[in-house]
């Protein structure tokens, strides 16, 4: 049987003396201390803002920079006329492993578009943030690039996003008034179909 000789590093005389090692340790901590102290003071004076004094992010006031590919809360991208780009093809609902997407498609007045979502719900309570819906979408209609991470709610019902919140990432709960004019169903109207295509410019004609 082959044996492997492990050579444990022997302490040198200076290391055994311990005091020089304390000095080395203190050198490191003092360097950090004074560097960070100086940077904090400089930040107070509005200087050297590009150098961070600490790796802590003061969360509610200061958000962490996210990678561009980070998968955060979903949003529905819009056409020029502020209607959803979604064509109601159901691919995302089909591919979703958590089955958290619910789409009810309706007929779009534009024959080149054919369909659009009357209803588009995502239940964030069961979403696994896999991003398959984004990858599968042929129309680039759904993205996960809002950078919204604070997805907390007091009820399961409040975790369900409807088409309002998905179309407008700035919109936070609770949604009390409906600004969408195309025909759709949403929580504000209690599930009734509201709106019409009148007054919305038709594209591609």
């Amino acid at each position: 049987m082959a044996t492997k000789v492990v050579r444990r590093p022997e302490l040198t005389f200076w290391e055994k003396l311990y005091l020089p090692q304390i000095y080395c340790g203190l050198k490191i901590t003092f360097r950090h201390f004074f560097k960070n102290l100086g940077l904090h003071i400089a930040h107070r004076l509005g200087r050297l803002k590009h150098l961070r004094a600490s790796i802590t992010y003061q969360y509610p006031e200061e958000l962490r920079p996210l990678m561009s590919r980070y998968r955060s809360r979903h949003r529905l991208t819009l056409r020029d006329d502020k209607t959803p780009r979604c064509v109601g093809c159901m691919l995302c609902e089909t591919v979703c492993p958590a089955k958290c997407i619910t789409i009810v498609p309706g007929e779009h007045p534009d024959p080149h578009v054919e369909k659009y979502p009357i209803r588009f719900d995502i239940d964030l309570g069961i979403c696994v943030y896999c991003g398959y819906c984004v990858e599968v979408c042929p129309e680039d209609a759904i993205r996960m690039d809002t950078g919204i991470l604070d997805l907390a709610a007091y009820s399961r019902e409040a975790m369900r996003l409807d088409i309002h919140e998905l179309m407008d990432p700035e919109l936070r709960k609770p949604v009390n008034d409906c600004s969408l004019t195309f025909p759709h169903t949403c929580k504000v109207h209690g599930g009734d179909m509201k709106g019409s295509w009148d007054g919305i410019a038709k594209t591609a004609d």
Binding site: I22, G25, I28, T29, H32, N36, S54, T56
Partner: protein, 364 residues
């Protein structure tokens, strides 16, 4: 007589006030300093009327929390001892400050000269070490009275550590006592004002550098903080105060901070000239290159006090830095360091000091 009593009460009140506030401030310093060392920000959310002041109110928030928490005494514990133990800890670290001179003699017309020292004790060094040694009783009693095996083990660890370090601590101080020829801390500080060769202040660090290193190490062990926090070991090896909650627990922490300050003041007094400023005498500065700047008594006292405070705070800072730099010693390493390292060095230091003093004819 009443005059003396009043001045003493004022002095004592001042010292207790300053020391307790400094100890309270230590919680903030500890948080912020460790945060800066570790590239963090540190506690900064507590605010009063929207003012955060770099989290300085967290100390107050801590105290409020401690006072309002439930005080649990475990079933089967010795109630009296369990209650008395934290008081012992705080008391013995607090009374030490009585013997520490924190400024030169203040002359007020119509009054006796006031020594800025609560109690002028001839054997102040002995008194201080007696009190520091008694402080360990709080720890042992806490461990014993908790009726918890882990707490008892913590108390025993504390005892073993104290015994091994107090010896080295005491012997290290003997060198200082020999050089200055007195046990009166006020006298020791006075004699540190002398100059060697007309330019080098005769501070303890100059005359007894080895004793200073031994003293600092042993004193850090005395404070029961990292790297010598075996008795406590909050997160891993469960210390003597597991069974304490509320302000009783807070008092153990307060005692820790107080001991840090005790050690800082002691190091200042014994090795860094106490309230002395180099070349400052009672009638003004006399620089060896010929300048003379006369100063009044009040300025002299003020400068002396500021010098003492600055040195003490600097020591607190360095001790805190060491606390956040070094990892905890293993138990056998601790014993090795105490008995095989510091103790012989301290003894050799005393012998060498004696030889040098005999050769130089300074004995007596």
């Amino acid at each position: 007589m009443t005059e003396l009593l009043i001045t003493k009460v004022i002095l004592a009140g001042f010292v207790v006030f300053a020391v307790l506030n400094l100890a309270g401030l230590h919680t903030w310093v500890e948080r912020k300093q460790s945060a800066l060392i570790q590239d963090r920000i540190g506690a900064n959310r507590a605010s009063i009327f929207g003012f955060r002041l770099f989290g300085i109110f967290h100390g107050i928030a801590d105290a409020l929390k401690m006072f309002t928490k439930e005080d649990v005494i475990p079933a089967g514990a010795n109630k009296t001892l369990h209650t008395v133990a934290p008081f012992f800890s705080v008391l013995f670290s607090l009374v030490v400050f009585a013997a520490i001179p924190f400024g030169p003699t203040l002359l007020i017309p119509g009054l006796e000269p006031i020594h800025l020292q609560v109690a002028k004790i001839d054997a102040a060094v002995l008194y201080i070490f007696a009190m520091l040694s008694l402080g360990v009783y709080g720890v042992i009693i806490a461990g014993f009275a908790s009726r918890n095996n882990y707490a008892l083990m913590g108390g025993l660890r504390a005892t073993a550590q104290m015994i091994s370090y107090e010896v080295a601590l005491g012997i290290a101080i003997i060198g200082v006592i020999m050089v200055y020829g007195t046990m009166d801390l006020g006298e020791i500080v006075d004699r540190q004002g002398h100059l060697i060769g007309g330019w080098l202040p005769m501070w303890g660090i100059v005359t007894q550098p080895i004793a200073f290193i031994v003293f600092t190490t042993a004193a850090l062990a005395e404070t029961k903080r990292a790297p010598f926090d075996l008795p406590e070991g909050e997160s891993e090896i469960i210390g003597y105060f597991v069974e304490y909650s509320g302000m009783k627990f807070g008092m153990f922490f307060l005692a820790d901070f107080l001991e840090t300050i005790v050690v800082a003041t002691l190091a200042t007094t014994l090795f860094f000239g106490g309230w002395q400023i180099p070349y400052m005498a009672a009638d003004g500065f006399h620089f060896p290159w010929g300048w003379d700047i006369p100063i009044d008594n009040w300025l002299y006292v003020l400068l002396g006090f500021l010098s003492f405070s600055a040195k003490t705070l600097a020591f607190c800072f360095v001790f805190m830095q060491i606390r956040w730099t070094l990892p905890r010693f293993r138990y056998d390493q601790l014993m090795d360091l105490g008995w095989k390292g510091l103790f012989p060095i301290a003894v050799v230091n005393v012998v060498v000091t004696a030889i040098i003093m005999t050769v130089m004819g300074k004995v007596g």
